[in-house]
Every structure is written in C-alpha cells, then in structure tokens.
Symmetry: C2
Subunit: 800 residues, 2 copies
C-alpha cells in the first residue's frame, strides 16, 4: 500500500505517451535534486530497450558532477524496445531468460520493498523518482496496465505531457486515466514546441483542475554520432539544470516539495479538524479521547485501507530506529459496514459509475426508464434473488428505506385483504411478527418493526411481537443448536442445546423438516400465535425476517429450520406476506446468492442493498411478487405506492450495481470457491451450489477458536466470522470484545513481508457488537490474506 | 441532442491520437459502404491542413468507382495542419479569415442540422460517418475538447486505435475519456503492426469490455512522389476494400449495422420491458395505459433529456414526409425532481465521482475520516448554509433520512431539557410544530412530522400540530399575501388578502417586522400555543419548517414574515430547537444559498440534499449547532446518535458535492445573475446578495400568466415557477394542471432552430402537484432556453 515518509519525498513519473521526454525530464529532476545537494533515488522498476539506452544509465551519465548523491536502480531489465509484457515473452521465447513474469503482487512488493529500503537511509530530506515505462496504460510485465498495477502503492504522480501534434489529447486522456484510479497528480511537465504550443493550451486547462504545469525547451534532434550526441546532451542538461539553481526545473522541485509538505500537513491536521466538525454515526463522541482515536483513511485498495499513523507511537522513531512509513495498510475487517465484496476502488466499478454519470447524470424515474435501471431490475427479478417468485423492482436509497418500502407494501396488502372496513386508528397499531435481535435499518419506520432497544429513539413504537429464536454456533468444537427455554421445554430434550454433527447438518433444512425438533418449533409457533390471538395482542400484518443471520442484533445465526417452519406456519395459518430483509445476508455475503433455496421457501417481498453496489455507492432495491404489486393498482392516484426519493434509480448507482453483479456472478460461477467448499464438506455440484453452506474462513481455525476458554461461541458462514466473547454482562453495551482485541488494530512492525499489497505490516480495522467481534472478507480475498488475519486473531486472543 | 434515424446509420469516428489512420480507415468504411451500393455521407466538421490533404478530398479521391453513392462535406476548413483552436487563431491573425470561432452551441447546431438534412433524403438504408479531428481530446474551434463539444449529439462511436509503440496506452486512455462522457462505443479499429502487435493486446482487453476490435494491414510509408503515392494508395484501398466484398472492413460494416439494429430494437423494447418489471415511485400503475406512457430516456445533456419518440405519432411519417429523428430533446422541466442545478452529465462531476471512486471506493465512516467528507463538512458548516451557527455535519443518504436524523436530534435535545423524569410512553407522543402543507420525505418517521394526507401510509401517526400559514403569490398581476381566516380576523383588515407593492416588498422581512400584520401573526401564534397548552394538545418538542416554500405540499410560498415571527415566538415562549428542512429550497434553488439571511434568523438544525450533489447521486447532510451536538455527549455508548447508514459519507458522494459547491458558488459569485436581479428590482450589491430576491423567470411573463383567467395564481422565485390552475376541486388529487398542459410534453415539429442543444424541436417534461404545475431551471440555464420554455407555456395555456 501507499508509502509516505517525512524525509523521503517520492514521486512516480507517468508519461502521456512514449517518446514524450519522460527520461529526459526525470533526469533533469534527479540532476536538480542532486545539484541542491539532496540525496536522490531513481528507480526504474522496468526498463526495456538496449542497455546502452537504459534510463538508469542515461541518468548516471547525465546527472552532472553530483553523482555521489544519486542512487539508480532497475528491478527488471529487458533488451527489446517494446512494451514490457511483450519483452517478457520475447525474452522467454529466446530462452535467454528463465524467469516467469512476476505477478502484480510480486511486482508491487518489489517496488515497495525498494522504496522502504531507500527510506531507511535517510533522516533528513531526500528525493525519489519512480519512472514508469511508456504511457500510463502501457502494460507491465504481467500484462496489467501500469495505472492499475501501480495503484496499490498510490504514489503522488508527475505526468509528463506530450508536446507533439495530438499531444493535447493524449495528455488530457492520460490525466483522466490517472484520475479514474484516484491518483494525486502534483504536476504536469512537458516540452515547449514552438509550433503546436500544447503547453499554452494545457497550462490554463490544468490550472482549472488545480494542477501546476511547467514547460521546458526540448532537446535537439538525436544525432547519429554518439559522441556528438552526448556532448550536445550534456550542454542541454547544463542549460536545463543550471548551476545557479535558477530555472523552471528548480521551480518544479520547489512545487513538488510544497506538495509533499502540504500532504504531510494535511494528514496531520485531519484528526483535529475531524473532531471539530464531524458528527459520526453510531459513535459516542464522549468516548473519543483525542486525535489518535481518529482513523485517517488516505486511500484504499483491495481489502485494505491506507491509514495515517503519524500520531501512533509506533512511528515515533528514535534516532536509532529506521524511519517508518507514515501511511500503512489496515485490513478493512468489517468490509466497511458490510458493503465491500470485491475490494475497494475497483476500476471496473469506477468506469461503470463514470459511464452512467457521463451519459445521464441523474434522470427522474417516475413514468420513465433508462437502461441501467431496467437492466438491473430485470436481472434481479429474473436471474437474481427474485428468480422464481418476484415480478417487480422498486428502487430506493439504502437498506433502511428499502425496508420502509417493503413494510408499506406489506401493510397495504394486509389492508387490502381486510376489505373496506379497516379502522384507520386500528391500522396504526398493526404489528409485524419478527425475531428478537432483528434490525432493519435506522429510519423510524424500519425501527418500529423491531423491539425497543438501545438503537431506538424517542418516537420509537415497537409494532409487533418478536420471538426468541434458536441459534446455531460452534461451541467448544461442536456445532450446536441453542434453544430458548420455551422451545427447549416443548422439545422435551431435557437440555437447552441440541448437538448436530456438522455445519452441513445444521443447514440441511429439507432433511431436518420432519425431525422432532421441527415439530417442536411448529408447536411453539402455533401456540404463540394462538396465545397472541386469545390475549388480544397486536394484529399481525406481516412476517419480517433477516434470513439466516441477524447482523446488527449481534451476528445471531438463527437456526434455518426455525425460520423455515415459521414461514410455513404463518403462511398456512395467517396467509400473511413474508418480507426477507437480505440487505446484509444476501448477494453471497453468506456464500449464496439468496437464502430462499436453502430455506426451501421464497418471500413475497425482499430487500437488497450493501453488496448490491459493490461497496461504492448507496442503492437499495425492494423486490415484490405480482400479488403485492397488484394491491396498489387502482384508478385512484392516491392508491399508488406514494414513496420515491429524489434520486430513485439514479443511473450511476444502477450501473455500478449491474457491473457488480456481472463480477460477483462470474466469481460465484467459477471454481474459485470450491477449495473452501471442499474443506467445509460442502457440495461443489452445480445443481446444489445455490444452497451450498461453507465459509472463506478455515474450519480448523473456527474449531480452534471455539475451544478457547475466553470464547463463548464462534460461527462462520460465507465471508462472515463471528466470535462471541465470554462475558456475563453481554449485549450491545458490553465492551468485552472491543477491549480484548484492541491491539489487533495496530500493525506489528517487523521485517517479514505481509499479505497486504506492497508487503507492509498492517493492522486490522474491526467492529464489535457488544460481546461479539466479527470479521468479514470480500468474495475474492486471497487465501493468504484470510490466513494472515486468522493468525493475527489467534495471536491476539491467545496472548491477552 | 442525439439524433437517431431508422434508415440513416450515423457513426462518429474518434482517434486515439493523430496519425493513427483515422482518415484511411474512415475512407475504407465509406468505400465499403459505397461498394455495397449504400448511399454514404461523409462529414468532416472541421478540417485542418492543406486542402490537397483534406480528408474529404482524400475520400473523394480514394472511394473507388462508386463515387455517385458518396456525399462528402466539411463545415469548417483551415489550411494550417495544427489543432483547430490554433488554426482559427492563425487564420484570424493573417486576417485572411474574418470569422469568429463558432461557439460550441453553434458548432453542434451546424453538425446536427447537416445530419438531419442528410437523413431527409433517405427512406432506405444509408450510412454516415462523422470524422473528428486529431485525438479525442483535441480542442475544437472554440477551444473545448472534442469529446465534450460533440457530447450533446451523443453519436455512437468508432475509436481508431493507435498501432505505434505506446499505442496501447493512448488507445485505452482515449477509450476511458469516451467512457467518462457516457458515449456508446461500438468498435475499435486499428492497424496491424507486426512488431508492437498492439492489436493482440487490445482485442481481448476490449472484448472483456464488450467492444469489438478489428485490425487492418497498414499502408506503406508515404512516398515523396505524389503520383507514385496515389497509385500505391489506390492499390492499398483496393486490397483493403476488395470488390468481392470479403474482408475485415466489411465485417466492420456488418458489426456497425448490427449495433445500429440492436440499438433500435432495444429502444423499441424498453417501454414494454419497463412496464413488465419496474415499479415506479409515486405512479399509479393503474393509470398507465400502455407503452406510449413510458418516457424512454436514452441520455441527457445540459437541461435536456434525449428521449425515444419511436412510439409517438409525430414520428410515424407518411411516405411523403421526411424521416424524423427517433430521439429528440425534452426539457427536464422538474429538474429531475428538483435535483438538477448545473445541467445533466457535467464532466467535472463525473471526474469528481471517478476520482473518489478510484481513490477510496467507499470506506467506513464511524471514527474515521477522509478528505472528501471532511472538506464537505467544513465548507457546509463554516462557509455554506451553516455559516454563523452550525458546528457539526452528520451525513446520511437522502432528504428523508436527513430529516429523520434532524428529528432524532431535536427529540433528544427536548428530552435532555426535560431532565430525568421523561415518561417513556409520553415521549412517543411528543409532537412537532409545523405548517399545513409540509412534506419532509417518504420514510415513516419523516412522514410522522406531517399531517395525515394522501402521502401517508397505514403506520402513519401525525405527531404534532400544523398551522395554516399565510402565503405569497402574484394573483391577477398583483403580489398579495393570502391570509387564512383566523389570521385575517386578527389582522382586522376586513379581507383575507393583503396587497404588497412587489415581490421585493413581500420578502423584505426586516422592514415588515414591526408592521400590524406582523403583530397579528404574533398574536395568532401566541394564542395558538396558549390554546394548545390549555386544551391538552400534544407536547411540542421542536419547530420544523420548510423555509420560504413548501414543495411537495404544492409549491406553497409561505409569507416569510410569518415564518420569522413563528420562529421568534417559539424560541421566546418555548425555547424549542428549530429545524430548517432546506432539502428543496436550499443551495440556490430559490436564488439564495440558504434562507436564514432573508428570514433574519438561523435554525438549530438544517437538512440539505438534492442540489448538494449536483443532480448526480444521493447524499444528505444534517447540520447542527454545538448545543444540539452536546445533548448526545456522555460516557454511555447508548446515548450516542445511533443512526448511520452503510454508505454514510461515501467518498464519491462527498466529492461530487464538493465539486458541485465549487461550481455553484462560482456561479453565485459571478455577475451572471445580475441581469435577472435587475429585472426583478433586486439588489445586486455584494453585501445583500445573500438575501436578494429574484427569479430566472421573467417578471413580465409571470405577470402575464397571472392575469390569465384559467390561472389562479403564479409565483416565481429563483429557479422555480409555479402556476396554480383555477380548479374548484384542487389539491393533490386534482388532474387539472396535468390535463391543461398535456400537449407541452410533445415536440412541435417545425423547421425553426430550437434552443435545445443541436437545435432540434423539443417537448417539455413537467410534473404537477394536483392543481399546480411547476417548472424549474438550473442555475445556469441559458436565457434563450428559459424564454423558449416561457413561450411554449404561454402558447399551451392560451391555446387550450
């Protein structure tokens, strides 16, 4: 991940094209730094072309008489003057070169490690220039284009513009490709060309965009005679980088120094400024002790944030310790509140967002249509979680609003079924049937579908009844179903737990449906409904469930058999609409597209968000069956579903969702997950994949953690790992999990290469829900990363 | 705007750079179309370089023996082989050329008009190729780069890739610049280069992105002798476009034909598919008669949608009528539910979105910070609507959630002020004080802060009391304050209206504050509060207002004096927190940043959304004063504001908001609006700009419409024009406005050049609220567009 040192200022040099003067202007920068007596590192990670032309040799030769200040390096060198990805293949073809092209990860690790090594040597100002090869999108050794391959390093960028005819276009397009990857672009440098005068156009163009442009006299045309050429080039450099330290190239140095200083100052100022202005969600500001409590996120890539550690003690180096990067990777352990599934800042999603923004902006949706929304609706209804039961898609902005829409749908259906004699006062008190521990979002209507609790506000009115459900977990190495007392009694097992042989058995709903436990569940539910009716409880209008797991309620894994029986009984006895809140659990968070196939029943209404938009932007979709939709059809305008946010079905969100589903479904259809499935003894057959039960986390690890004395129970399903800490005063107000794991947030400074991009040591950003700590992977987190998180969790739990 | 004809297939040709073979491959396409006996139009809007080299001459010369089928044209021609923006200046410098460079609008109109003329001639298949100059971002005559300048035409695109060294990079970057503008890219064509083999890399790269790549043998190196050169080129073209109709260039034709056919088929299928899958917000599907009721939005630019009219009668041309474009502009008359302010699909906003997406994706916000959110919070609090009173910014997803947050804040403050003895049952019934006609969003909590009405659902419980407010409007040519009966009686005026001399007088709150009417207001409010207390009304916890105008309630312009007095009395008598719901009215929708300076009082809490994100993505911010924030501080976690959506403060949304505010504040600080201000006799002095009252709509027009017998009253403020139709059965259920204006939706097919980009005839997409029709401009809508909308409204109102 990104590296930032106080004393070593690092810039990467990208070119708008080949042959735009990248090496010459980089040489000038190196020479200017050296002329000022500053130690300079020049790194050309990949060099192609004859050794005599190689960029580091060029610099060695032309740096002037301050050579002692300059350190040049090249990590991969090829003779052929072609794109690196071809050079590798040509070299292999000739068999003169045995090496396989390095993977992007290995490449990034090599560059990162070189930079860190350079930083070790300096406790006063030094400069580093990392020169890329060709244009911004020229392929690297692996074939990935450079802007993408270098992205995890997130180095501040100098773009060398193109002064030729057409160069305005290539310079601006290259700039935009850098913008699309989020880079910080500090400066554009280019040659003067008296005829095309591109710099004249580009200076105000980039000034409008906050970017400084400097232009330089171009060198002569290359001469055939090497001695003459070298002599002329020496003279050229002597003029470009004069000994009197006054020229545009020194202005460039000053500007880069200022950018570096500003960046350091900005990062340092951010915690205080944040504490002065921001009101955080779900945070007790009274608990915030000061600036070190603010997690400054400078960028993100894959499953890692890059965070500023300038305030943490680990970077306050004594004179004897080597300087540590002020930015370090931090594993995004809660998948940024359960939204991430493909890694942060995926270029495909950025481009999808940009394409829709560029085509539509936002366009209003009532009685209108556009491709991104239509395609998303069609795929969710026909191929996605709505497959086989849904008929319509209704758009809103987040899981909470999606649930409000779902509730409005269900209430109307119930109302319609009551006929004309609905008492308007009575309907305000209609309730839903749900489970204890449910959470459906933060808006007051969604909250009213939950019990009163810590999350609820003054206006909250719990509308409904909530059953205490049996749960599944690994406790001390065995998978068990924990029964609430009332059910335990009915089950007559003489115990409040039922042991199952494996995770697979627990989730084999169809094979458990005739079991005595299923009968006990049925009996319990029937009795509850009967009691409710007899004792004048609220009129129940809908069944509302988070299938399989109740997230915010504390990662409670509900026995799926209980949910199945509940749905069956409610449908049979009351004929009520069933809402699945799949905001958290859906779209492969638990390793399966939706929970219907596993439960063996489908809802009438379902709500989808979070992963839906790949962890980039908010969007929710409420799916409904045709009979739900028809309850709103009439010839009266006011019978319509009069709900609609301004940005309903905004094209950018829909297009990002479409691209996310493309990627997610491709991952799900591949064999990538089969290794994990096999470990969990889950089916890898195509026909049962839809309900296959497995986890990205290792079964041995889960088992091992469950046996720890400080741990009460553990569950893993799909990307989710939940560890419940033994704590007599549990619940949301407990701080036990938070305290126990506190040290995991910090990186362990050691010399081993970590699994984070770039190999730097990393900490883990984690969230707790009272006594439950949870960790979440993406759908494509590398096994090595998962393992290293497991190792770190293990060390933290066992050494505290 | 975009043109699309059934028989004339049009493609624009962009190049990844100069000298990539754009003219050669375009010539080949033209020649291939002609060889198939298809009439071909070749348009080079701008040509630079010597006439003998000019692209149209090249095509004329090399098109083969089917010349009769080919029509070539060039709109602007310059001798100099430089970028068009320079060519114009050089030509002017030589005084050989008198013309001013055309504006982008004029340029787009010229191209559009040429295309429409070409389409006129064909009722069977024909092709058209529009060749741009240089690379995608080469500047056009005005200096705007081509991708941006051509964007309103939104023509399907062929990109000519670059086969040289570095060409992979320039091709991909050019592609990305096209993606950022939302273009449909049908194909990439490039030369074979045996050494660099770019096509080998680019074929799979673009296949992954759904784009077809074809490659072609490159021509020989240009010969010095023109005759030899011509002979060789003839032979080259004969091989590239053989008479047997079998070669890659014919495959390219087939592919472009398929793309065109697919696009037509897709547009035609969209209405039916939409009616099959989409559940629209705020739409009674029972009223939807069929596919013609679906507004298919193909793209958008400036203040216009481009909509498909293939189903409307106006395009069902008889054999004697010329073909009409299947796509036409439609003015976005409701600013897409009040979100637009800068025009659709602004590249600056797209790039801001892309930059944040590329740097962060989304990163979780509790106890974290990132630059886009921090900067947005700081500017809203310190320089924006929070200036002078706010201390904190809390993020959520839309106006409705922003209001739920505001209500939770206010309720807590009230609760805290009650001390320890708050009755938990009692607090559920606390109410707010508001105005009749209020609307604060669709979620149930926000709804509970409004009266029961057509919008409310089964669970709605009106919590509070709502006063009937006096309103401002132009009625029959005079500005009047309409008083509700109770106030009219107290005012003792003997009438329910008070005439004011002008809009300016109505909004001069400070000068009206001592008036008898102000005293009547005060008396009425005090009495109401007293009655409430005496008669055991709900406990009032907060004052909640939409300042100046209640939007969804029917564009009700409340007398600002009444709101001012109400705030003063409530603060004095009850000391309650005051919430401003500025979701609709804020951020210059009404010509001023916020309503506080005009009202002369500031709120304790305010909510901002809609314009905040420039009409691109959803985001809301709730601002709060320090004392509100402190009510949640404690050492208990559960005392925190436990509200937070997954994508809270997502970087993409925050960055788009930052860029929007940059642009909006720049417009507001410029003199662009002064002409309109002067017309309305509003102050143009810097010190009073913050509360200056004026409108983008002409005062004469407003006056004229107000005098129509079918019109009850009219108001215009800032971008908003509201026309209330005379209708005895008014309100939301009324269809009077909808019916009266129905014809305005359709374009008037005539030969005049319209004010829409490209000059095509356009319809107006408008929304009504019962008996009120409203129209909204952006903050930068050209005067010509506003005038043409006014003209159209006038004609529609007076001719029906």
């Amino acid at each position: 991940m990104s590296l930032l040192f106080k004393h070593l200022r690092v810039h990467q040099i990208f070119g708008a094209n080949t042959d735009v003067g990248k090496t010459i202007l980089t040489t000038a920068l190196v020479r200017a730094s050296a002329a000022r007596g500053i130690p300079v590192h020049y790194l050309k990670p990949v060099s192609t072309g004859h050794i005599s032309d190689a960029d580091d040799k060029h610099i060695d030769y032309f740096v002037g008489d301050r050579k002692a200040n300059v350190d040049t390096a090249c990590l991969f060198r090829f003779d052929e003057p072609v794109s690196p990805h071809l050079a590798v293949r040509m070299a292999q073809g000739r068999r003169s070169h045995k090496m396989d092209p390095p993977t992007d990860d290995a490449f990034v690790n090599a560059v990162s490690s070189h930079i860190r090594e350079c930083a070790m040597h300096h406790d006063s100002i030094s400069h580093m220039y990392v020169e890329t090869a060709g244009g911004v999108h020229s392929p690297t050794l692996s074939g990935t284009t450079q802007v993408d391959c270098y992205r995890p390093l997130f180095l501040p960028t100098v773009l060398i513009g193109d002064s030729h005819l057409g160069g305005i276009s290539t310079t601006i397009s290259s700039y935009e490709s850098l913008v699309l990857r989020g880079y910080i672009i500090d400066m554009v440098l280019l040659f003067h060309d008296g005829y095309y005068r591109n710099w004249e156009y580009l200076k105000p163009y980039f000034a409008d965009r906050g970017i400084h442009v400097l232009s330089f006299d171009a060198p002569h045309k290359r001469l055939a005679d090497p001695d003459e050429e070298n002599a002329l080039m020496k003279a050229y450099y002597a003029k470009l980088v004069p000994e009197n330290h006054h020229s545009a190239i020194y202005d460039a140095l000053d500007h880069l120094d200022q950018c570096h200083a500003r960046r350091l100052a900005e990062l340092e100022s951010m915690p205080k400024r944040t504490l002065d202005t921001i009101w955080w969600p779900f945070v007790q500001h009274g608990h915030v002790k000061g600036t070190p409590d603010v997690n400054v996120i400078d960028s993100a890539s894959q499953d890692f944030f890059t965070v500023y550690n300038g305030q943490s003690s680990s970077t306050l180096t004594s004179p004897h310790e080597p300087p540590v990067s002020l930015l370090e990777p931090q594993f995004d352990g809660s998948a940024s509140w359960w939204t991430q599934a493909l890694g942060h800042a995926r270029p495909e999603l950025t481009l999808a967002a940009a394409h829709a923004a560029g085509r539509y902006g936002h366009v209003m949706f009532p009685q209108a249509t556009h491709l991104p929304a239509l395609r998303l609706a069609e795929r969710l209804v026909h191929e996605g979680p709505g497959k086989g039961w849904a008929a319509r898609a209704f758009f809103s902005d987040d899981g909470s609003t999606g649930m409000e829409v779902a509730l409005k749908m269900a209430l109307r259906v119930f109302s319609t079924r009551q006929g004309c004699d609905v008492d308007v006062k009575e309907q305000k008190k209609w309730g839903i049937l749900g489970l204890k521990g449910s959470y459906h979002g933060d808006t007051i209507g969604a909250m009213d579908a939950c019990e009163e609790g810590v999350y609820t506000c003054e206006w909250h009115e719990a509308k409904g009844i909530w059953l205490d459900p049996p749960t599944v977990a690994n406790r001390k190495g065995s998978f068990i179903i924990s029964l609430p007392p009332a059910i335990a009694e009915l089950a007559g097992a003489g115990s409040d737990t039922v042991r199952v042989s494996s995770l697979q058995e627990a989730y084999a709903v169809e094979s458990r449906i005739k079991s005595p436990l299923a009968q006990a569940y049925e009996c319990f539910i029937e009795q509850t409904l009967k009691n409710l009716k007899e004792n004048g409880g609220p009129t129940i209008a809908a069944l509302v469930l988070e299938p399989l797991v109740m997230g915010a309620g504390g990662m409670i894994f509900v026995d799926p058999l209980f949910q199945r029986v509940l749905i069956d009984v409610v449908r049979r006895e009351l004929g009520l609409p069933v809402i699945f809140d799949e905001v958290f659990a859906g779209l492969y968070r638990l390793g399966m597209r939706s929970s219907g196939p596993l439960l063996g029943v489908q809802p009438d209404i379902s709500v989808h968000a979070k992963i839906l938009t790949g962890g980039l932007v908010p969007l929710a979709v409420t799916l409904a069956s045709d009979s739900i939709f028809r309850a709103f059809m009439s010839d009266k305008k006011i019978d319509a579903l009069l709900h609609g946010h301004s940005y309903t079905a905004y094209p950018l969100g829909c297009e990002v969702a479409n691209k996310t589903l493309d990627i997610v479904e491709k991952i799900a259809a591949s064999n990538d997950w089969d290794q994990a499935r096999v470990k969990w003894n889950a089916s890898v057959a195509n026909q049962t994949r839809e309900s296959s039960v497995w986890s990205f986390w290792d079964p041995e690890f889960v088992d091992k953690v469950a046996r720890l004395s400080i741990v009460s129970e553990v569950m893993a399903l799909g990307t989710v790992l939940a560890i419940k800490i033994r704590d007599d005063a549990g619940g949301y107000q407990s701080h036990s999990a938070q305290k126990l794991l506190a040290s995991i947030k910090y990186s362990e400074q050691n010399n081993s290469v970590s699994a984070a991009p770039g190999g730097s040591p990393f900490g883990i950003n984690y969230r707790t829900l009272g006594d439950v700590a949870y960790f979440m992977s993406s759908l494509n987190t590398p096994v090595a990363v998962v393992r290293s998180i497991q190792d770190r969790i293990w060390v933290t739990l066992t050494c505290t």
